[in-house]
Amino acid sequence: MNRKAYSFWLAAAAICLFTLASRPGAALKTFRISGRAQGTTYAITYYAERPAVSQTQTDSIFKSLDNSLSIYQPGSLIDAFNASQEGVVMDKHLTNVVWRSMEIYEQTGGLFDMTVFPLVRAWGFGTKGSDQLPDSAAIHAIMPCVGSDKLQIFGGKLVKNNPCIQIDVNGIAQGYSVDVVANFLEARGVRNYIVEVGGEIRTKGHKYPGKERMSIGIETPSATEFDAPEIRAVISIGDGAVTTSGSYRKFREQGGLRLSHIIDPKTGFPVQREVVSATVVAPDAITADGFDNALLAAGVDGAFGILRAHPELQAYLIYRRSDGTVADTASAGFGKYLVR
């Protein structure tokens, strides 16, 4: 079969599948898949006449994502880039994530920066914990290795201008994974689903058989790394994505001070801002996930500055006042999502 004919049959098959899955009046059943990936859990619920995706397929998607993007997996493509002197040829996943990361780097004025990895490691939040805290001289020495403007893409190759540059796309990879799984569902004709990976979510359509809206709880910041979630607000976003970045689960204690795992790429030091949790609604999860860290690092005023330039984003921020009490605030368009 030549390439053209192959594409034709593929398209025809996709249309058949699509009509099957979305045939009006057909009774949609609930399918659920859940498991572990990327050091956390994932859960997929979709509504269709028949199974469209298997656990084996989703697990294999996560595996291919890890092979490309995981700093925890020795031999991953990102690991190879970090170990390289000059750079590597990227695969599809790394290309997608790096392009979007660079765009968001620009759009957040550098507050989202994947080259922050050497700093993350110095502060003991990397793949290996560290007993010592870095001093300002050590951070100063790392700063020449930080900055996405030191990366370039030539052809399909990601190139660094200094061997010490290392990237960590953990701030965006979960959101991207959600999109990849959602796109996989869509390619199989599924039009009603919720995909969640480690608290990053994308929804489309409704729940069946009642055709209810899908509701998403926004978690109250908790004190520990493993607390069961408590819901602070409930939203329904229709077709779109929502992600949350919080400085409340991952932190190190140091002399009574909590060090956030979010490092400000401009100063090299952990973010000590008042925002403890930033929830972002966006058309896709990679966008939401890229911006949520930046809003956390920007502080309340800075966050609203970024949001004004991006009307496609809505955000809900939980922050700590100077007296220690916790309050929340949201962008003007966020209210329409609130269910309770």
Partner: protein
């Protein structure tokens, strides 16, 4: 002599000021297993000069002196050691029944005191010692070293931060699978060496082992028990001992918090452990680490289709996460070293120790209540006059 001692004791000012660079001249009364262990730690500490040791058993005394300063003096009568005016402070690590008379004599001699746990043999002695220490103006510390250990500080902190939710129970055990005896060459020395076997000298496992855990619960809850029930027996090691070889008590703390305190001398699984049960998580404290086991309650999630939040690390049910404590890069030291360091600090700066005569009294009274509950098979209540 007694008069002279008293006048020193009742002078609120210390006999002499010890500068920050001066070594504290220390006498060690009781150089048995615990005393020798203390001497081994003290030898490495720049704060102290161990200038005198006292023990009635010659082997013990030799051992103590071998760990002390080259010029240290040996005594078999502790009163002679106390007569040495050049000694600033004493460590008392003798069988429990000797704690009170030795501590009183040391106060009269104007010595600062580090007294091994538990504090006193009975309740009246505990109450009286509080009065005597307060009147003396001397530093008096009880050897509950866990109050000085970062692990327990961190556990107290996470309790305060509500990691565990509402705490309702403590489960404490201090178990061993041994007869808990030391070898005796001369049968005449049996009671002197194996004093832990005899009620005449101590309260058995509760006063010699579980004392730490009772003190820890008091420390973590900032309270003391209201009442206690208990059962005990000699059912395994029927070797002539008259202290229990198993005792199980339940202490009732304010607000209905209960602490079971157990010692079994015929099983050593997780020998030393304190489990703190909260409605959000459990903390299990072992010798040198603590693990936290979150509850898998997830009521919130049932009402929505998804929850967005900072990434939740996967925790396996039944597998605890280790509680991190201590400062980065800080050396891991025997908890007793921290306690002895703080004792030096208190002596130099005239501060009241964290493990002081009142916390010591609370521990000792709780121990005696627990033993009395098992002895009488009747609930024992904390009486107002205990802490008046």
């Amino acid at each position: 002599m007694a008069g002279a001692g008293l006048s020193t004791a009742f002078t609120p000012l210390f006999g002499k000021t010890i500068g920050p660079a001066d070594k504290i001249r220390l006498g060690l009364i009781g150089t048995g297993s615990r005393g020798a262990g203390l001497a081994t730690l003290i030898r490495e500490m720049p704060d102290y000069d161990l200038v005198a040791c006292c023990d009635i058993i010659p082997e013990n005394l030799q051992k103590g002196l071998s760990l002390a300063s080259k010029t240290a003096k040996g005594y078999t009568d502790y009163r002679k050691l106390l007569d040495d005016k050049s000694i600033d402070a004493v460590v008392i690590a003798t069988p429990l029944y000797l704690h009170y008379p030795m501590a009183v004599a040391a106060l009269q001699a104007g010595k600062h005191i580090y007294l091994e746990k538990s504090m006193t043999y009975d309740i009246p002695q505990a109450i009286d010692l509080v009065k005597k220490v307060k009147a003396s103006g001397l530093v008096f510390q009880i050897g509950y070293q866990y109050r000085y250990y970062g692990l327990y500080h961190r556990v107290k902190e996470i309790m305060k931060e509500n990691w565990l939710g509402k705490i309702t129970h403590f489960e404490c055990q201090y178990n061993r699978n041994s007869n808990w005896r030391f070898p005796v060459k001369d049968p005449k020395m049996e009671r002197a060496i194996n004093w832990r076997m005899y009620r005449e000298y101590c309260g058995g496992p509760l006063s010699e082992l579980c004392a730490h855990e009772i003190d820890v619960v008091n420390y973590l809850t900032d309270s003391r028990p209201v009442k206690v029930v208990g059962l005990g027996g000699i059912n395994y090691w029927k070797d002539g001992r008259d202290t229990y070889d198993n005792i199980r008590t339940v202490y009732d703390y304010p607000n209905g918090v209960k602490a079971s305190v157990t010692s079994v001398l015929s099983n050593a699984y997780n020998g030393y452990s304190i489990r703190i049960l909260g409605d959000k998580a459990t903390v299990e404290i072992l010798r040198d680490k603590a693990l936290i086991y979150p509850e898998t309650i997830n009521n919130a999630k049932g009402t929505v289709d998804g929850v967005t939040g900072a990434t939740i690390a996967v925790t396996t049910q039944g597998k605890g996460a280790e509680v991190k404590f201590g400062k980065p890069g800080e050396a891991e030291l025997e908890p007793t070293v921290f306690a002895l360091k703080d004792f030096a600090e208190c002596v130099r700066n005239k501060k009241e120790p964290v493990s002081n005569v009142e916390t010591g009294r609370d521990g000792s009274i709780a121990i005696h209540m627990g033993n009395a509950a098992a002895d009488t098979e009747k609930v024992q209540y904390w009486k107002p006059e205990y802490s008046a």
